[in-house]
Amino acid sequence: MRKRSSESDATKSVPTHERSEEELVDLTSRVYKLVVERGKDGVLQSEIWKELGLTSRDGSRLAIRLEKRGMIKRVKVLDDGRWTYKLTPLRLPANISSMESAPCIVCPVESKCSVNSDVNPFTCPWIGPWVLKEHRTAIQMVATPAV
């Protein structure tokens, strides 16, 4: 019987259980990124751990972590005579770039803000600087594109 090389790989990288939480978070988001980029077609779990330079055990643990969180679906498939899992995204990451650092989300008087109140969007001291800063940053990014 052919031995599964994936399971018997000498662990070049640090095993998952010895990694710090920060490293795990980073790896988890990298795995999720790869799954999301492939979209509905999905990606094989074996491709992921190879691409990220991980062991199959680590790749599997990270995929299970994402599956437990309900972010991806893992389906067992036979690929080239070997059992692996196909990972497909269940949830796509929400786009919050337009809302980043929006003052209304953290405003202490947000509940009182209305056009008929003393706290209103017309005299709000935070809206103006926020949109100006975002607009200037966007203009700068257009003027100096990344090399």
Binding site: G70, V131, H135
Partner: protein, 169 residues
């Protein structure tokens, strides 16, 4: 802290309270029905910070808490759980709220002329209120000069367009 490819719940927590909230949100996803003490030990954050984050997330209906009796100590503790089905709705609601406010502000900026004395701590006056004070700042008594708000109007239009596109995606 990169949160581009993170669960929406973690992203929302980051929007509300920054990196500490992100850590609390991640701990909640890793360990469902955790107590504040368990989250504090998992994240290494102070219990005070964890509680503040939990109450704030609870106040926005992003997490739920169940009161249970601690079997060892006998007192009541809360076990917290992320309400991940609420996060997309939360983001959409916030986007719409901000969009409405930006549109109201743009309308106001379009309809008025503004005057300012140049002192950073003094408020900007509309033409009507500047005329009432004879174009002298009521706070510092400096003369009030016309403020060009075209850059702000352009920025508001740009942000409104960005948010509208985002909402209609």
């Amino acid at each position: 802290m990169k949160i581009e490819y993170e669960d929406t719940f973690v992203k929302v927590a980051g929007l509300i309270g920054g990196p500490d909230y992100v850590r609390v949100a991640r701990a909640l996803l890793n360990n469902e029905n955790a107590t504040d003490e368990e989250i504090a030990s998992a994240t290494g954050l102070k219990i005070k910070t964890v509680r503040k984050a939990l109450y704030e997330l609870f106040g926005r209906s992003l997490i739920t808490g169940v009161r249970v009796r601690d079997p060892k100590r006998g007192w009541f503790v809360y076990r917290w759980k992320a309400q991940r089905d609420q996060t997309d709705g939360f983001i959409q609601t916030q986007k719409k709220k901000v969009l409405t406010r930006l549109m109201q502000r743009l309308e106001y900026e379009d309809a008025h002329e503004f005057y300012h004395c140049g002192t950073a701590t003094c408020a900007t006056k509309t033409f009507e209120s500047a005329m009432e004070s004879f174009f002298k700042c009521p706070t510092c008594a400096k003369p009030l000069n016309r403020v060009d708000n075209s850059e702000l109007k352009n920025a508001l239009k740009w942000k409104i367009k960005q948010l509208e596109e985002d909402i209609n995606k």
